[in-house]
Symmetry: C2
Subunit: 364 residues, 2 copies
C-alpha cells in the first residue's frame, strides 16, 4: 500500500475526526475507495473505535432509485444508526462521476426529502468527508492517474496545525474588520462584514470544518458593491462556466455575463431571490492545491484564490439569532489573486499579488 494512503487515513481519523476509543464510527466507502477504507479500518482498529462500513455505491443507488416509484418510507433503521453513531466518515471516490446521470430528478428529490432526518442525524455526528483519488476523478480533472494521486495527497497531507495557525491570522483580521475589498483583473468589489464571524476551516471537527482537504477562511458578507470576474473555470449544473462576470449594487446582482455558460449562470441567478445575493466570501489558503481540477472541494481551497458563493450563507458566520442570506442554492465561483491583485480589510492591504502580508513575498 502507498504510504500516503496510510497517512491520509491517519490524518482523517486523528486530525480531522478526532476519533476516541470506543467511538461508534460509520465509514461510507465509495465504489473506488476500497484501499483508503482498508487504511481507515486499520487506524480505527488501532484507536480502539468500533467500525461499521457502509457501501456508498453510485451504481447501487442508481439501480434503487430508477426502480422506485418515488413514494419513500422514512428510513427509521438507518436513522437509529446515525442517532447513536459518534463519527461519520465519507470516503468519496467513485468509478464514474456520471453514474447517476439518468436518475429522474423528481425521484432524487423525493429520496433526499425522505432522508432529511438521516442527513440531520449524520450532520450531528463528528462527520468528515474526504476523497480517495480514483481514475474517474483523475479523468474529470483532465489528469493522469499518477499525477492526480500526487495532486490529492499534496492537498491532503499538509501540516494542518501550522496551516490552522496561519489561517487564524486571517480570521483575526476579518473578525476585527468591517469591510473587505477585492481588486484583481476585472474585479473591484467591496463587501461589508461587520459583525460577521470568519471560520478557520482547518479540516478538523475541532474547527467545525468537515472536509479533508480544507484550507480556507470564509465568512458571510452582508452585501456587495462592484464587479467580479471569476477566471477559474468550473462546471455548474453540468455546464462549463468560464469568465463569469457579476455586477453588484446594494448586495444584488444587477448585471452578469460569461464567456462560456452564460445561460447556466442565468439559471442559477433565477433560482430565487437569495440566489442573486452572496452567501459566502472565502479565501483559499491550501498551498498543496496548485491548479484547478473542476472539483469545488479542491478548487475553492487553492492558495492565491478567493471565492464568492451565490446563495445560502453558513450559520457559523452569523451573529446568534441572525438569519443570513437564504436560498436553495450555494454556488461557489472562484477568481485568482494573481500579479496585480489586492485584498484589503478596512482599506489596509493584507494580501498583494497573492502573498499575505506575513509572507516573504509581500511588500507593504
Amino acid at each position: 500500500m502507498d504510504d500516503r494512503i496510510r497517512a491520509h487515513a491517519e490524518t482523517l481519523v486523528d486530525w480531522s475526526a478526532r476519533v476516541d476509543p470506543g467511538d461508534d464510527v460509520v465509514v461510507r466507502v465509495a465504489e473506488g475507495a476500497h484501499d483508503l477504507a482498508v487504511a481507515v479500518a486499520a487506524a480505527l482498529g488501532d484507536r480502539g473505535a468500533n467500525l461499521l462500513a457502509t457501501y456508498g455505491s453510485d451504481e447501487v443507488t442508481r439501480a434503487y432509485l430508477r426502480a422506485h416509484d418515488g413514494d419513500f418510507a422514512p428510513p427509521d433503521a438507518e436513522r437509529a444508526l446515525y442517532d447513536r453513531a459518534d463519527v461519520f466518515l465519507s470516503l468519496r471516490g467513485g468509478r464514474n462521476t456520471a453514474a447517476t446521470a439518468d436518475v429522474p430528478g423528481d425521484v432524487r428529490g423525493a429520496h433526499a426529502r425522505a432522508r432529511e432526518g438521516v442527513r440531520e442525524a449524520r450532520m450531528a455526528t463528528d462527520w468528515v468527508s474526504t476523497v480517495h483519488p480514483t481514475r474517474s476523478l483523475a479523468q474529470a480533472a483532465g489528469m493522469s492517474y499518477e499525477a492526480y494521486r500526487d495532486f490529492v495527497y499534496d492537498a491532503v497531507l499538509r501540516d494542518w496545525e501550522s496551516l490552522a495557525a496561519e489561517m487564524a491570522r486571517l480570521t483575526d483580521l476579518l473578525d476585527a474588520g468591517s469591510e473587505v475589498r477585492i481588486v484583481a483583473d476585472g474585479t473591484d468589489v467591496t463587501l461589508p462584514i461587520a459583525g460577521r464571524t470568519a471560520v478557520n476551516s482547518a479540516a478538523s471537527v475541532a474547527y467545525d470544518s468537515h472536509n479533508l482537504p480544507s484550507g480556507e477562511v470564509f465568512t458571510a458578507p452582508a452585501g456587495a458593491d462592484g464587479e467580479v470576474t471569476f477566471d477559474v473555470p468550473i462546471t455548474v449544473r453540468g455546464t462549463d462556466l468560464r469568465d463569469a462576470r457579476l455586477v453588484f449594487e446594494d448586495g444584488e446582482v444587477v448585471d452578469f455575463s460569461a464567456a462560456v455558460g452564460e445561460a447556466a449562470l442565468a439559471d442559477v441567478l433565477d433560482t430565487d431571490d437569495g440566489a442573486r445575493r452572496l452567501g459566502e466570501l472565502g479565501v483559499g489558503m491550501n498551498r498543496g492545491i496548485t491548479r484547478p481540477t473542476d472539483n469545488v472541494l479542491f478548487d475553492e481551497k487553492m492558495a492565491g484564490t478567493v471565492h464568492l458563493a451565490l446563495g445560502r450563507a453558513y450559520d457559523a458566520c452569523l451573529p446568534a439569532g441572525e438569519a443570513g442570506n437564504s436560498s436553495a442554492v450555494h454556488v461557489d465561483l472562484i477568481t485568482r489573486m494573481d500579479e496585480g491583485s489586492k485584498l484589503l480589510v478596512d482599506g489596509e492591504v493584507i494580501q498583494r499579488d497573492g502573498h499575505f502580508r506575513w509572507e516573504a513575498g509581500f511588500e507593504g
Copy 2:
C-alpha cells in the same frame, strides 16, 4: 447484466426474504458481490423497501482486527440499526477465501463475543444469506469462472414452490416415523427420530430457512447405531477430509478413521462430549447441485446425498423445552446415496439408488 443475476435478486427478495413495501432492508455486500447488489437494489426499489448497503469486505475486517488490541467496546450504533431493521440480506462472494487467514484467533473470538448482541438482533430479522459467484469461489471449487457461475445459478434458480411441496412429502414421512436407517456402500446406520420435527428448508423465511440456495430436509436424531462412510470430500478446519468412517454405539462415536485427514477428524471429535454425538440428519434434495464444490452451503443440499452433523442440534427440530445435542461445533459430513443405497423410515424404503419413491426411477 446477466439475466440470471436479476433472477437471483428477485428470488432473494421475493421468495426468500418476502420483502414488503416500507421494510427497512440492510444488505451486506461482499467485496466481489457488486453486480448482485445492483440487482438487489433494483428489486428493493421496485418493491418500495428502504435500502442500506453495508460493505462486507474481508480486507477491511482483516485490517481492523489486526490493528485492534482485542478489547472491543459494544457496537451500540450498529445494534440500534439491526434492532430496527426488518430484513438482513448477506450477499457473500469475496475475492480471496483466505483474506482473513492471518487474523489472530483470540482477537477474532473477542470481536465475535463483543458483537453477540448485533448477531442476535440480525438473526431476529427476516435474514437470508446467499452467494454471488466470484472468481475466488470458482477457484476454491476447482472450477472455471464460467462453469462456476452456471453451477451457482443452477442451484439458486429452482422452482422453489414445487421443491418445497416435494420436500413436504419427506418431512411428513419423517415426522410420522420413529427411526431412519441409511444403507449405502460402507454405511449402515440406524437413527431414532421419534418426537423430533423435520424442517423443510426451502430457502425462504416463510419456511424458517435462511440460505439461498437451500433444498434439504433435516431433523435432529436422538441417537445412532452402526457405521457411516462419508465419501464426499470436504475441508474441515482447513484440512482435506476424505472417506471419513464413523462407528456409533448408543449415539456415540466409538471408532473412526479417514483415508485423508484423520487427525483433523480426531480434533473435531475431541472438542467436547457433544462433538462425538450427532446433531443433524439432513437429506439433500436440490437437483440443481450436481457435484460437490467443497462448500458445505452447496454440498449438503446436493440431491442424492445425505449428511450427518457431529455436534450442535437445531432447536427447530426439538420438542418445546427439550434440549438437543449441545456442542461448540457443528460439522457436516456428507455421503452419496448412489446405486445400491437405501433410505428407510420405520423399515419402509423411501429412497432407493438415490430415487425417492415418488420419483419415476423408483421401483418399490
